[in-house]
């Protein structure tokens, strides 16, 4: 399929349009709220919340006997919340640490959810068909009414986030200072956590409970690489989330039997990988290049300084020195020859005969300036 047809279908084909819109919405919401989850070091809490949502979905179906989006999402919301509450109370009332409580709640809720799911699937009720897509997600199964529900919930979550932006920033950066100036930090914590649960619930149908937390963490982690401003980070994260969501969902609905959740997660992982490697300042490639540059500079300065010291031990400024001596002085450092070549290129040193080097007058100036700088630093 060429791009033109794809664009045409995105606008006019019901299924494809619904899928793309749904994935876009879930990407924006989870990307924006995920930024806060990541900055508050609650990434794993998202994982526990999404797994904990499964029994809520199934119980909600058992009660209503319908797959209308709102009751199912409500069930997921309540269960996700209960899971979070369970983790908090375990940490508060027992000696069990946060990570253990998290793992414990996640597996208990998820186990209960799976059990209920297999139970429901044996019911002689055709309406349960497709409930298992909540495990790995099935964007192609999204209906227009699902997307509308997702958009309303997500829109509300984003509005609340924008409204309490200042308070949430304070909550994420300095909770005690926030409390000291009079904001009810526990209440704000509950509100933000609720919004994060909403973001998860919105994505469950398309991405599935197993991998939904990736949509919370990955866009935010990638966005952090590109900016040092909270507002920009949230915006970039939302953009990455929706991009990966749309691309992954469209891919999975065009290829038969391709689960949406894993496809979307692979897309966002590609974005993360790209950002980790190539983002300016924080990217690994960038860091490596900076490191190399610094190392070359330090090596060069070491050789320059050594030649200067050697020269100062001789009356004759033009007395040349063997590269072997310099190599011995920079044992374990290597790169002496390359440093000398670089110095020659800059006009700081010249080779008087094979393997014999001497500083030029501008090289001597440079070296004495270097020594003065170092003395100042030491002081």
């Amino acid at each position: 399929m060429d791009i033109g047809t794809l664009l045409h279908d995105l606008i006019f084909d019901y299924t494809l349009r619904t899928v793309a819109l749904g994935a876009g919405v879930l990407g924006i919401v989870s990307g924006a709220l995920g930024s806060f989850a990541v900055l508050r070091r609650q990434s794993l809490l998202g994982d526990a919340m999404s797994h904990a949502a499964l029994p809520g979905i199934v119980i909600s179906f058992l009660i209503t006997r319908s797959k209308a989006p709102l009751p199912l999402m409500l069930g997921a919301l309540v269960a996700g919340w209960l899971g979070t509450l369970a983790i908090m109370s375990i940490v508060r009332t027992t000696r069990i640490k946060y990570d253990s409580a998290l793992g414990f709640v996640l597996s208990v809720f998820f186990g209960a959810g799976l059990m209920l799911l297999t139970f429901v699937q044996r019911l002689p009720d055709a309406r349960q068909a497709g409930l298992d897509t909540f495990l790995f997600g099935q964007a192609a199964a999204l209906l227009q009414r699902d997307v509308i529900t997702m958009s309303i919930l997500g829109g509300a979550a984003i509005c609340i986030l924008a409204l309490f932006w200042k308070e949430f920033k304070l909550l994420s950066f300095d909770i005690e200072f926030g409390a000291s100036v009079g904001f009810p930090m526990r209440l704000l914590d509950i509100l933000l956590t609720t919004l994060i649960v909403v973001a998860i619930v919105i994505g469950l149908q398309a991405v599935g409970v197993v991998l939904m937390s990736a949509m919370l963490v990955a866009p935010a982690a990638a966005a952090r690489q590109w900016t040092d401003r909270l507002g920009l980070m949230v915006a970039i994260s939302a953009a990455f989330g929706s991009l990966a969501g749309v691309v992954g969902a469209v891919m999975s609905s065009m290829v038969p039997r391709l689960s949406t959740g894993p496809t979307i997660v692979l897309c966002i992982s590609a974005v993360v990988l790209f950002s980790l490697l190539l983002a300016p300042n924080r990217g690994l490639v960038w860091n490596w290049a900076r490191h190399q540059r610094n190392r070359r500079k330090l090596r060069l300065e070491a050789v320059l300084s050594d030649l200067y010291v050697l020269a100062s031990q001789h009356e004759d400024q033009d007395h040349s020195h063997s590269i072997a001596v310099l190599k011995a002085m920079n044992r374990g450092q290597g790169g002496v020859k390359r440093s000398l070549d670089e110095m020659e290129a800059r006009g700081w040193a010249r080779q008087v005969q094979p393997q014999e080097w001497v500083l030029t007058s501008s090289g001597r100036e440079e070296a004495s300036r270097l020594h003065q700088d170092q003395e100042e630093v030491e002081r």
Binding site: W165, K166, E167, F173, D174, V181, G182, F183, D228, L230
Partner: protein, 288 residues
């Protein structure tokens, strides 16, 4: 600001901070035990004591950040919740994530959030106040810097600027001198003196016993219980220090021994060369 700090009609008659019978316990372990403390307005007070003495907890209890098992705290005669605007807070520098994606100016403006109240965003006025405060701590050139690019001392000064824009009457500072460079230490001392000149009350958790008499008017010696509290000249004595730190203080005396217990403060303050000095035993008082 249209909402200036409302002064209590009898403000003059109340101490800036009064703490009565304060007991705080984490689980079953008491951190503060029956502490009474009166801080008169307009003084620079140092709180000193060994690690685990409850210095930070005392400050947090005053701010209502930890709930006491018993006792009460009054700010100018009224509970903290009614007097928030009168109190500025400088937490320990290490209590936040300095890799948080925000700028120096943004952090300083957080000091205005309390006055702004819900939802309202900082505007032009907050911007101006923040810049002014940054100037006072010598950090104006760093206003747009990302906070992770700051040195420890610079981070401390940003926190001080944030407290300054709170425009408070009382400042509570948790170890502002901890691990800062000489420039920052001088900046903090200058700032403390400026605050005192403006009639503010400043309470500082302090670690360096050598500078207590040089920087502060009053001192509170704390080790779970309050050992002593009062003007440095009267309270900062060898006997009180020994009682506070147990055997953990080494007293070094060089030159002429002045004898009496009260000589410590006088010795340090008079000639400044440290004819008498007190140094905590580094092996045991180092922070854990």
């Amino acid at each position: 600001m249209t909402d200036p700090v409302e002064k209590h009609p009898n403000e003059e008659n109340f101490p800036a901070i009064s703490v009565a019978d304060l007991t705080v316990a984490y689980q079953d372990k008491p951190v503060l035990w029956d502490v009474d403390l009166e801080v008169p307005a307009g003084i620079l007070l140092a709180i000193v004591g060994p690690n685990g003495a409850g210095k930070t907890t005392l400050i947090k209890a005053v701010l209502g950040l930890v709930s006491p098992a018993a006792g009460q705290v009054l700010i100018y005669g009224r509970p903290y919740a009614e007097q928030r605007r009168m109190v500025g807070y400088v937490p320990q520098r290490g209590s936040v994530d300095w890799d948080f994606p925000t700028s120096v100016l943004d952090v300083v403006m957080m000091g205005r959030y309390g006055s702004l109240g819900w939802i309202k965003r900082p505007g032009r006025q907050e911007h101006a106040l923040a810049l002014e405060a940054l100037e006072k701590v010598g950090m104006l050139p760093f206003a747009d810097r990302q906070i992770s690019q700051l040195s420890g001392g610079q981070q401390q000064r940003v926190f001080l600027a944030r407290a300054l824009v709170q425009d408070a009457q009382i400042y509570l500072m948790d170890e502002p001198f901890q691990g800062v460079d000489a420039t920052t230490e001088r900046a903090i001392v200058t700032l403390l003196q400026a605050l005192r000149k403006d009639g503010k009350t400043v309470v500082v958790v302090h670690h360096d016993l050598q500078t207590v008499s040089e920087y502060f008017d009053w001192v509170t010696l704390l080790n779970v219980r309050r050992v002593a509290s009062g003007p440095v000249g009267q309270v900062f004595t060898e006997q009180n220090l020994r009682q506070t730190y147990g055997g953990r203080v080494a007293f070094l005396r060089n030159g002429a021994d002045e004898g009496g217990n009260g000589g410590l403060h006088a010795g340090v303050a008079k000639d400044g060369t440290g004819s008498t000095s007190i140094i905590p035993d580094p092996g045991r008082t180092e922070r854990s």
